[in-house]
């Protein structure tokens, strides 16, 4: 695999990761990133932030040293910053990773919904918490064009709400605020649905499936990260599958390029290969 040719990540037909077409008009789009046990999406989130800041995922496919060497030659695009809001990782997790990639700290903003979220919000009415979250995140739209929400589905359990309520009171309003919203979701349970359809699904499982299905329908593209079905391999970490989502992009001049990559993540670097 080390001899295999590395491939650039392309999501849209203009050979870009995040096409400028998405931000050109007063339009709003969603990307949905799913991941499973063993394939953490942190490298993809970092690549998306880098794309927003620099115009392309500079450190993807590069060895760490080469990426750092190239960092000085980069030019920051005039686009607005990116915001990452995570319900599972704290601020330090992202800042240390992006610092290693030499992304300027002024070009992105991290909102930490992990630290003290329960202590601050436990027992409060869910709608109130959701509205305060919406307000805080909406304020970011003044400076950011891209919002990455990591594991918002945890709110279903943290606030004891339904997935519909989460979509109606948080996700949908956020879609209207940002030109591009990326929802990153952990879908390990989604595919654990028993094959025997007679077995009764638990209510939390139904909520999870409902949340994911809604995201599928709303998104223009779905980026699925999953490990190889054969298990661990030393030269492949997993597959990245890019498929079209339920939302149409016919109003734009670009479309989603469906593709499947193999990727290998090792020591802070990720390389992509064709399947």
């Amino acid at each position: 695999m080390s001899m295999a040719q590395k491939q650039d990540l392309v999501i849209f037909s203009d050979h870009s990761v995040l096409s400028r077409e998405l931000f050109s008009k007063d339009l709003h789009h969603v990307l949905f990133v799913t991941h499973k046990l063993g394939t953490s999406p942190s490298w993809l989130i970092n690549a998306l932030v880098e794309t927003q800041v620099l115009g392309f995922p500079a450190t993807l496919n590069e060895s760490h040293a080469a990426a750092v060497n190239r960092a000085s030659n980069r030019k920051i695009t005039d686009s607005k910053c990116a915001t990452v809001a995570s319900f599972i990782h704290n601020r330090g997790f992202f800042t240390s990773a992006l610092k290693k990639l030499k992304v300027d700290a002024e070009c992105y903003n991290i909102i930490d919904y992990m630290t003290d979220f329960v202590l601050k919000n436990y027992g409060k009415p869910a709608s109130k918490v959701l509205s305060s979250l919406l307000e805080e995140l909406s304020n970011e739209s003044a400076t950011s064009e891209l919002l990455i929400l990591e594991q918002p589905e945890l709110l279903v359990h943290l606030l004891n709400i339904t997935s519909d309520q989460l979509h109606l009171e948080l996700i949908n309003p956020l879609i209207k605020k940002f030109p591009l919203l990326v929802v990153v979701s952990y879908t390990e349970a989604y595919e654990n649905v028993p094959s025997d359809s007679n077995e009764k699904l638990s209510s939390d499982m139904i909520e999870q499936i409902r949340f994911c299905n809604s995201c599928f329908f709303k998104s223009a593209a779905v980026l699925g990260l999953k490990p190889l079905a054969t298990g661990h391999a030393s030269d492949v970490s997993g597959t990245l599958t890019i498929t079209r989502g339920g939302a149409s992009l016919s109003h734009l001049a670009v479309h989603v390029v469906e593709n499947e990559y193999l990727f290998l993540t090792q020591k802070d670097t990720t390389k992509l290969f064709y399947r």
């Binding site: 046990l37 063993g38 394939t39 953490s40 999406p41 942190s42 490298w43 993809l44 599972i88 990782h89 704290n90 330090g92 997790f93 990773a97 992990m114 630290t115 003290d116 979220f117 329960v118 202590l119 436990y122 027992g123 594991q151 945890l154 359990h157 943290l158 004891n160 952990y186 390990e188 349970a189 654990n192 649905v193 028993p194 077995e199 009764k200 699904l201 638990s202 939390d204 499982m205 999870q208 490990p227 190889l228 298990g231 661990h232 391999a233 492949v236 970490s237 997993g238 993540t265 090792q266 802070d268 990720t270």
Partner: protein
């Protein structure tokens, strides 16, 4: 050691700016007296003053390199850098688990979930070793440790006797224990010992003859075997013994999980505030065990906020906290429910213990008839490794490792199905029989 040129100013940052004249130039300050060619006694005094200031000034220059949290733990006996990421890690009390996690321990600020299938309770051994290791680290400094220790243990359990159930440090084989006891009683100043002291040289002779007195060689061997650089990092624990004296409230805090969520979290936070300069090892044994946790805890809207809150506290104190938790995965089905996957998601690392079914155990007993110490007890499945999995590396490894629980250690090793000698012999026998039927016509060889 470097030598400076005479004309260079001592104490100047980098020592680069040169002052050529003694005249009161604009650069001349009372803190940095210049040295010119003609050195007078006053200059010598000023030079020594400069050197003393040098040493004072250099210390704060070094300190910013070490971060605030690490400063506390720089000399902690239970912390060493991870060979994989060079982040500080602490021992889990089981050397093989330390190795399996990829960091020679559990990195500070990380959380580990140990799941166990079936009705066995091997995970409790790992939890107790983890807890006992913390207490042993705390006691490294001697009697002072009870008040000003370096480690504190927090256990979320209803079991009030948890402290008394911790295993003691493995003292060696029975012979070693006996020998150490004899030497201990001999070293005591008693009437009998002083009377027998005359016979000591004779004993020594015999001891020398049998090599018993050759302690220095043994000690050096042991120190070579141990990690020289981190002598108190990891210990072996004897699960048949008990840690004596049992940890007190100064070393261990028990928090009942059977109370409102905010009470659990606030108690945990208080512990972190009270022991602000210690490494805090949090243990959550038997998560969701029906004896300890009320039925509503098995609902996601209750357990997820609890784990999210605990995770938040650990991450907030990520420079001095680690967490280990165990859970029986058989109690909660993985298919059709999101509970187990959601709990796994809340931890940075996860492993799964799968004890062998009876047929497999019987097979291993038969194969290792002459080497019963080699019999493994189950498989270890790796789900997530701390730090490595979070950055996107794929570390799900099922059925690649096996574990064996012994008196002195919990071993994890690469798994391979052993060859059954009896089957091989049978098959060989079959071949030989067929050969012998053929070889009846040939001439037999003489040896």
């Amino acid at each position: 050691m470097s030598f400076r040129k005479r004309s260079e100013v001592l104490g100047a940052p980098g020592g680069s700016p040169r002052v050529l004249s003694r005249g009161a130039g604009p650069n001349r300050t009372p803190q940095q007296p210049p040295l010119a060619r003609g050195i007078t006694p006053r200059d010598v005094r000023s030079v020594t003053g400069g050197i003393s200031r040098l040493s004072v000034r250099n210390t704060p220059e070094l300190s910013p390199v070490v971060t605030k949290g690490l400063e506390l733990d720089a000399s902690h006996p239970g912390i060493r850098p991870s060979p994989a990421t060079s982040q500080p890690a602490t021992s889990t009390g089981c050397r093989d688990l330390d190795k399996t996690l990829g960091h020679m321990g559990l990195p500070i600020g990380q959380t580990l979930l140990i799941q166990e299938q079936g009705t066995t309770d091997f995970s409790s051994v790992l939890v107790k070793c983890f807890a006992a290791q913390g207490i042993v680290h705390n006691r490294v400094e001697g009697s002072n440790a009870f008040v000003h220790g370096n480690t504190h243990l927090v256990v979320l359990t209803l079991n009030q006797f948890f402290a008394k159930e911790l295993p003691g440090v493995y003292q060696g084989s029975r012979k070693d224990v006996k020998r150490s006891k004899v030497s201990l009683t001999e070293s005591k100043i008693t009437v009998q010992n002083t009377l027998e002291s005359g016979a000591a040289p004779k004993d020594l002779k015999i001891a020398w003859r049998y090599g018993l007195n050759d302690d220095s060689a043994k000690n050096s061997k042991r120190s070579e075997a141990d990690l020289d650089t981190y002598p108190n990092y990891s210990h072996a624990f004897d699960i048949t013994s008990r840690l004596v004296p049992a940890p007190t409230s100064a070393e261990l805090t028990l928090i009942s999980p059977n109370q409102p969520l905010d009470a659990v979290l606030s108690q945990l936070q208080t512990v972190f505030q009270r022991h602000d300069k210690k490494l805090i090892r949090v243990v959550v044994p038997n998560l969701l065990h029906p004896v300890m946790y009320s039925p509503e805890y098995s609902q996601l809207p209750v357990i997820v906020p609890l784990l999210h809150g605990i995770r938040s506290i650990i991450k907030k104190n990520s420079e001095r906290a680690v967490l280990i938790s165990t859970m029986s995965s058989d109690l909660y089905s993985k298919s059709g429910s999101q509970l187990v996957t959601s709990i796994e998601n809340m931890f940075d690392a996860a492993i799964d213990l799968e004890p062998f079914p009876q047929e497999m155990s019987q097979f291993l007993e038969r194969v290792y008839k002459s080497q019963p110490q080699k019999i493994q007890h189950g498989l270890v499945h790796l789900m997530k490794l701390p730090l490595l999995s979070d950055r996107g590396e794929m570390h799900v490894r099922r059925s690649e490792y096996a574990f064996r629980n012994g008196k002195k250690k919990f071993e994890i090793e690469a798994w391979g199905i052993p060859i059954d000698d009896s089957e091989v012999q049978e098959s060989k026998g079959g071949i030989e029989n067929s050969d012998s039927s053929k070889s009846q016509t040939t001439v037999s060889l003489d040896f």
